[in-house]
Symmetry: C2
Subunit: 379 residues, 2 copies
């Protein structure tokens, strides 16, 4: 029935080379040395200048706001209107070559398919776009070789700055990168505080989680943490310790396990290990939502129900948290805003390369859902 739409091939209609009629006394057409290819060539500054009867440099002046004052009003108007009329647009390549700027920012991230990143990327994207910058993404899959390669690719492209979502606490390349161009870290930071960063306030976030569980009556709260070599993993663990203490709850290192990375499978493994230690607990604070999902599987495998037997709190508040079974209580981090801020910071860094580094922490909100409940009485 739909066979007619399958694997068909059909000639492209040959497009017209629209050669805009050039009125007035200047007779040359726009870029007479037009290539013979399929596509139309763009109008250049020279084309505009010729038609407006001025020198290209005058046209250039007229067209860029900052130098506009150096042009007599009537000339200005003439240039502007012919430019408008001819549909002139500056060629950012040419301008970039001259100014040594590409108006492009590179971003390295582990994997766009990780649901944490798309909203951040959108934020960055939108933030940069409003200032005329474009974003080039490079996924590294946490492969150090690929990371090097992608970095080289971005550098080669002369990006005006680099945003990194790939940083680990020890991250030797960073020095090298930061020495070459403006650099901003998102979501994660390094131990050496050299470079600006934007992330969520994990202190506050873990606090919300601990206090929420404490308020429900939990005392034996476990931690299935993320990778300690990532700042997020380490910080959340530290803040877990800190808040447990300050809430007067017992901390037992047998109730703490770590994953090697922030994935569902590793979360399951770690959680199974935790359970099999046989130390009693009624709630888990996890390193992120994926690990939390891993805990769901592990708990289920050992016949424990969420939240009846064990409450689980995630971190990040990725999309679909509310659709999980049960819906996952999670510390929501403002992902889009993190991106926006990172973009703003990048623009600032490009503008003023000598400005000092800043760490920006954005507030989290606890989203309480069905994965947390009071512990069964008696425990």
């Amino acid at each position: 029935m739909s066979e007619e739409v399958r694997k068909i091939s059909q000639k492209l209609s040959a497009p017209l080379l629209v050669s805009q009629p050039v009125g007035g006394s200047v007779s040359e057409s726009i870029s007479e040395n037009r290539p013979t290819g399929k596509y139309r060539r763009a109008v250049t500054l020279r084309d505009v200048a010729r038609k407006a009867q001025v020198d290209p440099s005058t046209a250039s002046r007229a067209l860029r706001p900052s130098t506009r004052g150096l042009v007599r009003p009537d000339t200005l108007a003439r240039v502007l209107s012919t430019a408008e009329e001819m549909g002139y647009r500056v060629n950012p390549l040419a301008r970039g070559l001259r100014d040594q700027r590409t108006m492009t920012v590179g971003m390295m991230l582990p994997d766009l398919a990780n649901p944490l990143f798309p909203p951040i990327v959108r934020g960055i994207e939108d933030g940069l776009r409003s200032a005329g910058y474009a974003l080039i993404l490079a996924n590294t899959d946490r492969d150090p070789n690929r990371e090097r390669d992608m970095l080289a690719v971005l550098m080669d492209r002369q990006v005006d700055g680099i945003i990194l979502a790939t940083a680990e606490r020890e991250y030797p390349v960073l020095d090298e990168i930061a020495a070459q161009m403006p650099t901003v870290l998102v979501n994660r930071t390094t131990d050496d505080f050299l470079v600006s960063s934007v992330s969520s306030d994990d202190h506050q976030g873990i606090g919300q989680a601990v206090r929420h569980l404490a308020a429900l009556g939990h005392r034996h709260i476990a931690h299935v943490g993320g990778a300690l070599r990532a700042s997020t993993g380490a910080l959340r663990y530290q803040h877990y310790l800190g808040w447990m203490h300050s809430e007067g709850l017992p901390v037992d290192q047998n109730l703490v396990v770590f994953t090697d990375w922030f994935t569902q499978d590793l979360g399951t493994q770690a959680c199974l290990e935790l359970i099999d230690r046989g130390v009693e607990f009624t709630a888990i604070i996890t390193g992120n939502d994926l690990i939390a999902l891993g805990c769901y599987s592990a708990l289920k495998a050992r016949g424990l129900r969420v939240p009846e037997d064990v409450s689980v709190v995630g971190y990040n508040g990725i999309r679909f948290c509310d659709q999980f079974s049960p819906p996952l209580t999670s510390v929501r981090v403002p992902k889009y805003d993190i991106g926006l801020r990172a973009a703003a910071l990048m623009l600032e860094a490009i503008e003023k390369p000598e400005a000092p580094a800043v760490a920006i922490l954005l507030p989290t909100t606890l989203q309480v859902r069905a994965s947390t409940a009071p512990p069964r009485d008696g425990r």
Copy 2:
């Protein structure tokens, strides 16, 4: 406890301007007109040529593989080694300006945060990357103005091609775009078959869904479709009709509703409308997974259970389908592969602009999960 990591600001260590010692008889340093800024300037072709004692154009020949044959072996070696030694990298801006190619492809998509897109984008990204191309994303949020703007931005940047995930069946801008540069559609197509596209084989996909439900014993299968102005919405609807007929199942237009767009909320609305028509059905085939989630809510709101009272089949097989409550049976489309293919097609189109358009359909697989079950007996 973590106060020390909060809102700190600290001077960046001033980086050294590493001025590589230039040996040999040529005494000028690399780019003596180095700017005074924070960052090091790149080594140019001239620098290499000077040091290797050849003309820049000879160096250029030596350095690009295609013209390498025109250079005597010893000269070649000398140029190559000095280039290596000085860490020379071509400036893509300059090359792009000369060759009128940016080695960059633009992509317009509605919203990266839609879980359908990240895997596709990764595929495109990886496919392009391997050929030395980079990808620039532009999110449009389906706002026609934004769409125009983003398009202009991409054009201005002289991208070598455009990949569109924003096409609707009637999509007037497309002609204009396709006349200007290589264009490839992903996921969706237009009614006028002018431009190459890569999407999933919806005929096969819906077939899998219908036959799965039929095999379970369902006869009254409803369709909560997507937007008809998108090819995906229209095709899936048509194929639903087709397969229902060919499976000998009754088609009742009262069992068909459409959403205005592929979102969860609109899915809920549409499904509520469907239920309130009072016509009996035991299963729903939806326009995509988000609509399926919307149906979950609607069914729940009317006291119907999935899958006991109504089976639900999604489309796309987005991430976390298996975590939903209940886990969603869905037609999985090979998102990453779609991206890869789109990239390949784009590269081909850039290479040979006159090549005819092709529509590539990739096979789907039905992932059966807990949202589908046999209908309760008696119905």
